[in-house]
Structures are given as C-alpha cells and as structure tokens.
C-alpha cells in the first residue's frame, strides 16, 4: 500500500483524528495525526491484516521553534511498505503516549527523544536520560538551548 491508501484507510477508521492529506513537493510524505489518537492508530497499524507494520524504524523529535513534532517511521516486513506518522506537540509541555508497548524498540528511541528534546512519553516503563548523565539540565537539541558553562565543577573555558 502506498501512503495515500494508508491515509484513506486511517481516515475511514479515525475520522478527524487524522489530518488531511498534503502531498509534499519533495521528499517523503507523512500522515499527520492528533497526538491523542497516536497510540490507537499505532495498534491498528500493527495489527490490521492490510497494514501489518511490525517494525518501528525510528522515532525522531523535531524542534520547529513554535512546536515540537514527533515523527515515527514504520516498515512492514510482511507487506514491504512503509509509512511515516507525525504528531505535533505543544512546545511548552510536549506530551504523547509511549509506544513501547506496541513496539518494544520504541523504548530507547523515546528515551533519546526525551533526553535530547524533552518530549515526555506517557506510560513509558523507564523514562530516563539515555545518552546524557541523569543530572543534566536542559534539552540540548532544542533550538533555544544554551550550552552550560559549567557542569559539576568542570568548566569549558
């Protein structure tokens, strides 16, 4: 199935939770979703016999300065098709449901997104920083992040 067909199928099932289709000028297309419906959509994507997305490639958080986006790239080994999901989150308090119960591999990807972009994944079993130390302040990949001058007595001057 191509992304357009997947969009139609999801639109039938979830209605308004799935935004309208926009054809990108260049590059990949994505399915824009309401952040609240993400988990339900993903369960369907995984279990539906016409979709069978069994592999979550990556979870990326993108800081668009006015909002934070979470992008999920999916692949189906069985049906050999791919899809990308996108949810937009409030930049002051980015929250979205964790997908680690749908695809276990999401666990580390989400920890990384939390670590770097500060996205809080609800119902995540172990939401801690992954690459940075536990006592690090701030989320380095946000556009307004200022690198600290000092960390635990170590300075970078």
């Amino acid at each position: 199935m191509n992304p357009r067909e997947i969009h139609t199928l999801l639109k039938e099932r979830f209605g308004e939770a799935v935004r309208d289709w926009t054809e990108p000028e260049v590059g990949d297309s994505s399915l824009d979703l309401d952040s609240g419906s993400l988990h339900d959509v993903c369960v369907l994507l995984r279990d539906d016999s016409a979709l069978r997305f069994d592999f979550l490639r990556l979870v990326s958080a993108v800081d668009r300065t006015d909002r934070i986006e979470c992008v999920y790239h999916l692949w189906s080994y069985e049906l050999a098709h791919s899809a990308a999901l996108r949810v937009e989150l409030d930049r002051s308090d980015p929250r979205v449901a964790s997908l680690s119960d749908v695809w276990p591999t999401a666990e580390w990807h989400e920890r990384e997104a939390y670590d770097m972009m500060g996205v809080v994944f609800e119902n995540h079993p172990h939401l801690h920083r992954i690459l940075l130390p536990e006592d690090w302040e701030g989320y380095p990949l946000r556009k307004d992040y200022v690198a600290p001058r000092e960390y635990n007595g170590l300075t970078n001057e």
Partner: protein
C-alpha cells in the same frame, strides 16, 4: 541450552531458603576488555548467573546531531563518517543518499559503482573485525590477528582510493572523492582472491571449532518475533531468520544490478537466531560482498565521478529518510530541511543503538560468560550507539 543451564545451576527452592546467598551488582565497563569501547553494563549476578543487565550508554556521545544542525551539509558529512568508525564509507554513503534525494542531485553511474565497491570493501573490513573481536571475546586470540591481516589489505585499498585508513570521507555529495586507477583495480582483484582463499581457513580455525560452537550455539537466542519487535536490523535480524536486506529490498546506489544472495540464520549448529547464526551470517556476507565487488569492478562504466554541486548547497523545504545497509544493520538519516544551507534537523537511526536495546531482554538468566558472547555477537560500535 541456556534454559537448561538455568535449571541446572539454580538451587532448588527448598535449598534457597536455608542457604543464604547474596546477589551482587557488577559494573562491566566502561573500562572492560570486551564491551567493545565504553559501554557500561550493570549486571545483577547471582554467582555466575546474570539475572539482569542494564546497558548504560553515552560515554562516547559527541553531539553529532547538534553539530550537524549547525554546519552546511558538506561539512556535516565527515561527522557522519565518524559515527560508526568501522563502517565509515557506509555511513557517509547513507548521509549522501539522503541529501541527494532531497536535493534531487544526480550521481553518475561510475560514481555509484565506486560507492558500491568502497562500501562493500568497508563491509568486508568491518566483518573481519567482527570476526576477530568475537573470537577474542571468547578467548581465542589468533583469529583476531588473522582477521586483521586481511583487513589490512582492504584498508590499504581504501587508503589508495581515499587517502584515509579508518575514516575515509570517500562518498561525497554528488559522487565520490577520487577515481579508480588500474593499479587499485588490480589490488582489489588480488584482495578478492586472497579473501576467498583464507575464508575456509577461518572456518577451520573458528567457525567449526567444537569449543566455539559449544560457546555460541543455542546461546542468546533471539526469535524472529523478538528480533522484529526490538528493531534488530542487518546481520542480527537475518540471523533470526528474516530474509531482509536493504540492498535487495529497497535498493540504492544501483545495488539492484548486482547478483548476490542474502544469507539467513538456519540454526545450523543450534537454534535459529543464536550467537553462532549471527556470527555465521557475517561470515557468509564476506563472500557475498566479494561477489558484489567483483561484479561492480567488471561492470564499471567510464564517466565523471563527482557531479557539480553548488558551493552553498540549499536543499528545498521538505524531509527525507533514506535507509541504507550498514555492516551492522539499517543506518538512515532523517533529514529535515527548511530551505536553509543548514539542516533544521538531522536524526540518525543507528543500527548498533537499536540492536543494543535488546540486551536486557536476552542477557537474562544466562552465565556471565554468555553475556560476553551475546554482546560480541550483536557486534556494536559504541561510536554509533552514542553518536
């Protein structure tokens, strides 16, 4: 077998009450000989049995994604090379493919062939290190040196091709850095002959060694379902019985033109998806890579090797994700551009990072020595786990 071990080694419940034993928290790493860099594994052990193992990563974090956002694409490319320092060409290739797809930059056929040759030579070199270090993890020193002997030839060829010995910066946006000379071509052919000659020697030394088989077969079994769910890719995924290779299933850089097989784990010595299968898939891939290099060398057309790309490369507004088969699995860059010379966001999907996340799932109720065997068979590169 690992399950059998648990029942054999764990004391029966009645004795557990009368005999007081303590569990011990053990720090494997970051300075440990077999964590392949600076991985720290916190393991909870009960005698020789490992009950839980938590990988702690980030010791080699070099802010690739942050740096890549603050540099023009061409300047961010060498940083991509440095992520997985054993599969440098493949990393650079993945980055270039992403940028080229978004910027609709054409690459000449000759350049695409050269990319395939360099990437496959690099894959062989990387698998040879995987072979050597895995033997080292299991206590056999000699295969390590043997692996390095052949790797040296591959590295010398790549040095002649690119000038570097570890980090090549060979694929460039729009092509490759240097052209092939007849001398390099004959070197490559000599290497292929040598590689095919010593390959059975490796098997006699390690693959079929009874001790090696006993240490790896039926150890660290990852089922097909587990492998897919935990995002295993590359040789690890194929070892679990999934015949999926991005070079075949989502071909890039003219891979569709070359004939090669995709080996999968068949449980030859034990169960499908055990450590031996993961090791064996890599060994067979060495030969398949030789085949690809040979075909690319035979079929290479004349032509330019580098397309002219504007000095200040501005990609159109949009986003792209191009996956690419790295020696360790699926490596892809998710590039988001808003029309500036610099990317809005570059997110890398590293195979080692994803493959490592399964460790706590399979390093449970195994022997301490098995943790080393499992970790080695996943073949991680910490440079790319931490980025």
């Amino acid at each position: 077998m690992s399950e059998a071990n648990v029942t054999e080694t764990a004391p029966p419940a009645s004795r557990r009450d009368s005999l007081r034993t303590e569990e011990m928290l053990l720090n494997m790493g970051p300075q440990h000989p077999s964590t392949h860099g600076v991985l720290r594994l916190v393991v909870r052990t009960d005698g020789e049995m490992v009950r839980e193992s938590w990988p702690q990563i980030g010791f080699l974090h070099r802010c690739f994604e942050k740096i890549a956002e603050s540099l023009p694409y061409a300047q961010a490319l060498p940083y991509a090379d440095r992520m997985d320092y054993l599969g440098s060409v493949n990393n650079g290739l993945a980055f270039c493919l992403g940028v080229e797809k978004l910027g609709a930059i054409e690459v000449s056929e000759r350049a695409a062939h050269l990319r395939v040759i360099a990437a496959e030579l690099n894959r062989i070199a990387s698998h040879l290190i995987a072979f050597g270090t895995y033997a080292l993890d299991l206590g056999a020193f000699t295969p390590f040196i043997y692996g390095f002997r052949e790797r040296e030839m591959a590295v010398s060829i790549l040095e002649k091709l690119s000038g570097g010995r570890l980090l090549y910066h060979y694929p460039r946006i729009g092509g490759v850095a240097n052209d092939l000379t007849p001398e390099i071509a004959s070197d490559i052919r000599a290497f292929l002959v040598q590689m095919r000659k010593v390959w059975p020697e490796y098997n006699a030394l390690l693959s079929d060694n009874q001790i090696f088989v006993k240490r790896t077969a039926n150890v660290g079994v990852v089922t097909r379902e587990q492998a897919i769910a935990w995002g295993f890719t590359g040789p690890c995924l194929r070892a679990s019985g999934v015949r999926f290779d991005l070079r075949k299933d989502q071909p890039y850089s003219l891979y569709e033109r070359f004939a090669f097989d995709v080996p999968i784990g068949e449980g030859t010595k034990g169960t499908t998806g055990d450590c031996w299968d993961r090791y064996w898939v890599r060994m067979v891939e060495i030969l398949e890579s030789c085949r690809i290099v040979e075909q690319a060398l035979d079929g290479i057309p004349e032509g330019p090797v580098l397309t002219k790309v504007p000095r200040v490369l501005k990609l159109p507004k949009g986003e792209v994700y191009v996956p690419c088969e790295n020696p360790r699995g699926e490596l892809g860059f998710y590039i988001v551009s808003d029309g500036d010379p610099k990317a809005l966001r570059i997110k890398s999907r590293g195979p080692s990072f994803c493959n490592l996340s399964i460790v706590n799932e399979i390093c449970r109720d195994v022997l301490l020595a098995d943790v080393v065997a499992i970790l080695g068979s996943i073949d991680i590169v910490l440079g790319e786990v931490d980025r």
